[in-house]
Symmetry: C2
Subunit: 206 residues, 2 copies
Amino acid sequence: MDISPETARRPDRRRERTQRQLGDALIALILERGYDDIRIEDITDRANLGRATFYLHFHGGKDELLLLTLQRVIDELVDQIQAMPLSQIGIESPFPSQIAFEHAAKHRDLYRVLLRSHSAHRLSARLREHIALRIEQRFADRLAAVGIEMPLVPAPIIAHYLSSALFGVLEWWLERGDLYDVDTMAAMVRQMHMAAIMAAIGVEGT
Amino acid sequence: MDISPETARRPDRRRERTQRQLGDALIALILERGYDDIRIEDITDRANLGRATFYLHFHGGKDELLLLTLQRVIDELVDQIQAMPLSQIGIESPFPSQIAFEHAAKHRDLYRVLLRSHSAHRLSARLREHIALRIEQRFADRLAAVGIEMPLVPAPIIAHYLSSALFGVLEWWLERGDLYDVDTMAAMVRQMHMAAIMAAIGVEGT
DNA sequence: CTGAATTCTGGACATCGTGTCTATATTTGT
DNA sequence: ACAAATATAGACACGATGTCCAGAATTCAG
C-alpha cells in the first residue's frame, strides 16, 4: 500500500504553484501590515486566486499556511546543521552561528517574519529549542574530549543561554544591522560564545 | 483643564475590581487552554460578569486586556531596574539578572504567559529591548571607568546578546527549572555574562 | 441617610470573517 | 483527446464581535 516511491505521485503543478503564491502573498502582507488583521480574502486577492481555493489547500487558516511556508526554510537550516558531523570538531569549530547568519541573510524576509511576528512565535521557539538541543549534544562531546565530567553550569542552561543569545543578536542584525556582514557577525557571536562556555565549565581564560 | 491632582478623581471601585477580575480570568484561561481560542464570553463567564461589561472597559479586545495586565508587572520590574543607580557600580555589581529572576519568581504565572504566549510577543520584545538599552548605558560607564574607548564587539550587539541570553534562560527556568533556586540561577547567568563581556571588549581571563 | 451619578446586566441587533458546498470552467497528466 | 484533478464564483449557515438600550445594583458625595 503506497510504499514504493513510484506510487507516491508528485502533486499537481497547480497545487505547488498555488501554495507558493499563497505563501508569498502572506509573507508580503505580514511585512506590510502585520499578521493579525489579514483576512483570507486579502491573501487570495494578492495571490490572484479565488477565496474558495484557499480552503482546498489549508484547513488550519492563516496559521497553517504560515507554518508551512516557514517550515520549509527552517528545515533547510536544520538539515544544514544536522549535516555538520559531530565528530571532527575542534575547539574552534564553528558553532551553528556561522551557518545561521548565512542562512538568515539568504532568506531575510522570511526570517524577519519568523523572528518578529507573534504568529510565528511557536515556530521560532521550536527552532531555538532545536538549536539548543544540538548545542547540548555537541557540548557533551566536547566535555568528554577535554575530560570534564560536571560543568559548573548545567548543560541545558548553557545550551539555552547560547541559542537565545544567538537568536537575539540575529534578530537585532536583521532589523538594523546592515553595517556588519555575515562573517563579522558570526565571528563576534563566536567570540562571546566561547568565553561564556569556558566560564560555564570552569576553565580559565583563553 | 484637569491639571490639578484633585481634578483627576480616583476611578470607581467597581472599575478596578472588574478589571482585575477580567485580567485574572484571562491569565488563568491562557495557562489552561492557550490564548487563541478564548472568547470574550469565556473571560466574562470566568470572572462572573456580563459580556457587555467587557466592552465598557476595553475596546481593543483580548489584546488590550492582556497588555494592561502584563504591563503592570513589567512596569514594576522596569522601575526596580531604573531605581538601581548607574553610579556606584563595581565590576561585580549585579546585572539586572538577579532582579529579573527574583521578580519572575514572584510573578511566575504572569511571566510564563509573558514569555510563552504569542499574544504577548510584542510586550516581551519591548521588555527585552528595554533591558538591552539599560545594559548598554551601564556598559558605557564601565568602559569609561576601565579606560577602553572601543570594544571589539559594538555595544548594542553586546547588549542584545546579554539580554536575550538572560531571557532565554529565564524562560527555560520558568518551564522546567524547579531544581535551581533564584540565587543559583542568577549566579550562573552572571558568571557567563561576565566572561562574554570580557571577551567582547577584548580583556583576557578573569 | 438620601439622591444623583456611575456602573453592571441581559437581551436584541447588525456586521463581519470563516468555512462549506455546488455547479461550472479550466488545466493537467496520460 | 479524454479523464481526472483543480480552480472559480456565488450562495449559504454559523459563530464571534461590537453596539445599543432599559432597568437593576452599587458607589460616591453631601
